[in-house]
């Protein structure tokens, strides 16, 4: 089965309400697409996304895998941090990338500060091949 990645530019969610943003992401995920959203949701929207996901879990929809890659701002100078926060407040947080995929397709998203690994059902199986017991040979 092929994977479908859908890129969503921030401009597409910019004018939507929180509920609208969550709906847009969840609708795509429920069509078995892996969504790559430019930037990130607000913190309370991320929690709301988890809550809405839980409300919609059923026999077909098992939930989501979620990861946000965000540039490290720890080492930024104070004024640069402030400037960035001000821009985020006015225009929304366009930095980084949010990945949301259906749990039935994306088994795990592993993240550390320098890399991100996305395991689908198939790649997991490939990563841990079962030892064959060829007793007859």
């Amino acid at each position: 089965m092929g994977l479908t990645l859908q890129f969503v530019p921030y401009a597409e969610i910019e004018t939507l309400s929180s509920l609208g943003r969550i709906r847009k992401l969840l609708n795509a995920v429920k069509e078995d697409k892996i969504v790559l959203l430019e930037g990130r949701l607000r913190k309370e929207e991320e929690t709301e996304l988890i809550k809405t996901t839980m409300e919609e879990i059923n026999a077909e929809f098992k939930g989501i895998e979620l990861a946000v890659i965000y540039p490290e701002s720890r080492n930024f100078a104070f004024f640069r941090k402030m400037k960035q926060q001000f821009i985020n407040m006015l225009l929304g947080d366009r930095q980084g990338l949010t990945i949301v995929g259906p749990a039935s397709v994306v088994k795990e998203i592993k993240k550390d500060p320098n890399k991100i690994q996305l395991f689908t059902s198939d790649t997991k199986k490939r990563a841990k091949p079962k030892k064959s017991k060829d007793k007859g040979k």
Binding site: E46, T47, K51, I57, G63, E65, L66, A67, A103, K111
Partner: protein, 210 residues
């Protein structure tokens, strides 16, 4: 007579609302991090009774549990609070995972349904917490988005956070990784099951909630 009765009722209501609100300390985190084990340890230490059941199967706690009036004493200081144990927060719940753990299909489906409701309740309760202890399994990857989302949300709501790196008794525990994942927070490593490093835990608790 009626006047006296009215005055009496008024006084009672006034007294009730005048009473200082009890501090609420919430235990949050992903499933199977050891929230209930820690809640049990705290309750055993100060009340002499446990709070809830624990299990190796994820989502054992599916309802919010509250233990009121816990008084922790340290030297001459005293901290009184209500402890709120919450269901583990997850982004996915698949009943088939419970089947693998030996549950029957109906039990697994019921557990999954209750677990989803538990996550919703835990999120709803976030706002009413005064302090939150985020309990993480220190043998697991701390960079999971659920952890980051919970902690980010608490920061946005200005709720003080103490991160607990639990299960340090296990060989695979990597407390350093937990600390490096959340450098702006205090992290304390404990084993709630074995009761290791609880002294430091209570010290940090006083620091953040006292």
């Amino acid at each position: 007579m009626i006047k006296i009765f009215k005055k009496f009722i008024k006084k009672i209501f006034k007294d009730i609302f005048r009473k200082k609100k009890q501090l609420k300390i919430g235990l949050y985190g992903p499933p199977n991090g050891g929230k209930t084990t820690l809640a049990n340890k705290i309750c055993m230490d100060w009340l002499g009774e446990e709070m809830g059941l624990t299990s190796n199967i994820a989502h054992e706690t599916r309802e919010i549990q509250v233990k009121e009036r816990i008084n922790v004493k340290k030297d001459s200081n005293e901290l009184s609070f209500s402890l709120v144990d919450t269901p583990g927060i997850a982004t996915k719940i698949d009943y088939e995972e419970f089947l693998k753990k030996g549950l029957s299909e109906s039990e697994a489906k019921r557990r999954a349904k209750e677990a989803t409701k538990g996550v919703i309740d835990a999120i709803k309760w976030l706002d009413s917490m005064d302090v939150v202890l985020v309990v993480l399994d220190s043998t697991k990857d701390p960079y999971s988005q659920v952890n980051i989302t919970i902690i980010g949300n608490l920061a946005a709501r200005n709720i003080p956070v103490l991160i607990i790196g639990n299960k340090t008794d296990l060989k695979r525990a990597k407390l350093k990784t937990v600390k490096s994942a959340f450098p702006q927070y205090d992290v304390v490593g404990i084993s709630a099951k074995k009761g290791t490093n609880m002294e430091e835990f209570y010290e940090q608790l006083f620091k953040i909630a006292g």
